[in-house]
């Protein structure tokens, strides 16, 4: 059972354990998956796949798709480290505590991560980079600012989960407002590889998405856990509540992923 903590509440030992588990997984596949296969999946499922469905982004299944994606990574990190309590931390970007420190995601935030944690010398490599480089890239604050608590509260106040046309144009949609105003914005705030299609090259991807998942869970607790839309039927081009999300296993539907108390983790 993983208790996902805020980065503000982690000990230095916990930060080091998390970074080391990622490094270990980068070179040691477990449970039939490799770290780079997560990057492949992110690239593949960002696009509409051959079923003409947008599984991971710009669609209602944005939240449950990433919930399963994170849950699998957390499980793989537990396996590779031999620590069943290892957890994905969340980065509340409205707070003052930064994940970019020497003992955690690495302290370099203005270009090539050329030394320290997540540098090549430390044992990290970039994969399928659209930027011609062998170094992880960051440009903190170049492309966007961090969302404020006011922006987060405003997004959390949208009461409709999602609605037609179920894409990135929907205005009155909790899913789309979160995806654009919080999720996209923080990808752009970090910049470098976090702004690219292959964003999971940066370990902070997981801390960011963990906070997105936590915000959805908080929203679910106030609006209802079983509130995914569209509910049933055959809405073209999107995942319905009881439809399997690729590339995950049979049974991995939004409905099956709605309640985190059944998924083996909680938020502290």
């Amino acid at each position: 059972m993983a208790v996902r903590k805020s980065i503000a509440d982690m000990t230095s030992a916990e930060k080091t354990a998390f970074a080391n588990a990622l490094r270990q997984f980068k070179t040691t596949p477990v449970n039939g998956r490799s770290y780079n296969s997560y990057i492949d999946q992110h690239i593949t499922y960002f696009a509409r796949t051959s079923d003409n469905i947008s599984h991971a982004h710009q669609s209602p299944s944005f939240f449950p798709w990433h919930r399963e994606y994170l849950r699998l990574l957390e499980f793989d990190l537990q396996t590779v480290s031999g620590n069943p309590n290892l957890f994905l931390p969340y980065w509340d970007w409205t707070g003052s505590v930064s994940p970019f420190t020497a003992d955690f995601c690495g302290a370099i935030t203005n270009g090539s991560v050329s030394s320290g944690n997540f540098s090549p010398n430390w044992g990290w490599s970039v994969y399928r980079s659209s930027i011609a480089t062998s170094f992880l890239q960051r440009r903190l604050g170049q492309n966007a600012s961090r969302p404020t608590a006011t922006t987060v509260n405003n997004v959390q106040s949208y009461s409709v989960y999602d609605q037609s046309p179920w894409n990135s144009t929907v205005s009155n949609s909790y899913r789309n407002r979160n995806e654009i105003e919080l999720h996209n914005r923080v990808h752009n705030y970090v910049g470098g590889h976090m702004g690219t299609r292959e964003a999971p090259n940066d370990p902070v991807f997981w801390l960011h998405h963990c906070n997105i998942d936590r915000l959805w869970w908080l929203w679910q607790q106030s609006r209802g856990i079983d509130t995914y839309q569209p509910r049933t039927g055959t809405t073209p081009g999107v995942i319905d509540n009881t439809e399997r999300m690729r590339p995950f296993a049979t049974g991995k539907t939004p409905s099956a992923l709605r309640d985190i108390t059944t998924l083996g983790y909680s938020y502290a």
């Binding site: 509409r48 930027i131 407002r177 299609r197």
Partner: protein, 145 residues
């Protein structure tokens, strides 16, 4: 791959208009580095400029088929209709933008009644994001949304 082929077909089928286009945009054609023969149709918004030490070239072939090169390396573009939520608090609006491997969460609005020169702004944004580095071959691989 099929995308590239389709673009080539469009280019060559437009070859009949080359003479007129070259006459109209002769200055642009002379400053370009490509051979004159087989030259594609030119759009007045096409550009070839140096920006922060990088050469950016943009060609307009109609929505969804525009092309952008940074230092002669192609960047695959994907059109997306999306809500734009300005950070300055002004009213959100829906428009069409381009995303790519580099600006994947940051669509740049393309030409419509509201905005012009979108492809050039995108090119400059890409150079800013590259921060002195180059596009890799991976950046030229497209996908659909």
């Amino acid at each position: 791959m099929t995308d590239v082929k389709r673009r080539d077909v469009l280019r060559y089928s437009a070859a009949g208009a080359v003479t007129t286009a070259t006459a109209l945009y002769g200055v642009q054609a002379l400053t370009g580095s490509e051979p004159a023969e087989g030259k594609p149709r030119r759009d007045p918004r096409d550009f070839d400029e140096d920006y922060r030490g990088k050469r950016i070239r943009g060609r307009h072939f109609g929505r969804g088929r525009d092309e952008l090169h940074v230092n002669d390396r192609p960047l695959a573009l994907t059109e997306v209709s999306t809500l734009f939520v300005p950070e300055d608090g002004s009213e959100p609006y829906v428009a069409v933008g381009y995303i790519s491997a580099i600006n994947h969460y940051d669509p740049v609005e393309i030409d419509d009644a509201r905005t012009q020169d979108g492809l050039r702004r995108l090119g400059r944004r890409i150079v800013d994001r590259l921060n002195g580095l180059e596009l890799s071959a991976e950046a030229g691989k497209g996908h659909f949304h």
